[in-house]
Subunit: 199 residues, 2 copies
């Protein structure tokens, strides 16, 4: 019956293109928006367009930014001897939320995955190489995820650091806070045991 | 760190207002849209605005429509002696998808709920009353949901039908297709037993 309602069907179709939004959720959202005031729907539409117009990537670290440099690269309050390499801007934000790091970042925008044809040149690795030789870092923290691709990427980057005479570290791998051992996968438990610390 | 990214933070906030979209999902969607082409984000924004501009409610049955009357009320191929009363446009669409009904509809846009202060005048019940006296229906199918409020509303409307000399029916209440008895609530099983049919 939506054949006679092209604008409603079109909104459902557009919403259904979003990740994790199936056709039922898309319909539910469209019906919600139908009952939402024109001003509120307009605000959502404008937010979409404004984000697309204003947000770009930092020219230095490739985090999201609204200027040439992101707020972190532009800040005077960061330790410029430390560089933390992450896969995605989301990972950077997670580290910032932890309030445990005051250095700079480099966002790769992906991980190495030769099987999918993703080589260093497809990521921001050439730009990282450039920074390693020019910015005088003391330590590089490789904070790619603990997935197969994340580990492979960290190994690749560790070699890159060594070639530039820089020490590289990796985030600690173990049991997260508040988690019972029985619910943790065997690989993580194994890492936690082999990486145990003397008290 | 999103303080320096007002347009991205604003999009996250707007997405987070949608039902069922929490702050983590809103962030995930915003990051997805960040990587989506400007044309595709524009298409979503335009679909939102166009829906709001074009979609209204049918003047006769209050289903969603882009004209004065919805496609069902305007059609020459519907049985005008049958009226099916539903709570929401979504319910109408579910019945249409079943391909089992060729009459007209009336959408209440809610259910009676005296505790929440929802009286007949807050729904499209006065307009239904008007249709019952003028359109010459033979049967009214009360297809409100089998919730407490839906049942109360159906009872209220059944009395309204009787007062207008019209017969009212209710959708069959029982075990859905493909469902095992063990997973069905006791109330539904009770209804299915009392409503059993001789083969």
């Amino acid at each position: 019956m939506l054949g006679s309602l092209p604008s409603f069907a079109r909104l459902e179709a557009e919403l259904g293109k979003l990740p994790g939004i199936g056709s039922k959720t898309a319909a539910r959202l469209a019906f919600h928006l139908l009952r939402t005031s024109e001003a509120e729907v307009g605000a959502l539409a404008e937010a979409l367009l404004e984000m697309k117009r204003k947000v770009r990537f930092c020219e230095q670290c490739f985090h999201i930014a609204e200027d040439r440099l992101c707020a972190i690269c532009a800040s005077d309050h960061r330790d410029r001897g430390l560089l933390c390499v992450v896969e995605q801007p989301q990972d950077l934000l997670a580290i910032e939320r932890s309030n445990s790091y005051k250095g700079l970042y480099h966002v790769l925008h992906g991980v190495l995955s030769p099987l999918d044809g993703i080589d260093p040149e497809d990521l921001k690795i050439p730009q990282l190489q450039q920074r390693l030789t020019t910015e005088g870092f003391e330590e590089i923290i490789l904070a790619t995820n603990f997935s197969v691709e994340g580990e492979v990427t960290a190994l690749y980057l560790a070699r890159l650091c060594r070639e530039n005479g820089l020490s590289a570290s990796r985030l600690a791998h173990g049991i997260p806070s508040g988690s019972g051992l029985e619910y943790i996968d065997a690989g993580t438990v194994q890492q936690a045991v082999s990486g145990r610390r003397t008290l």
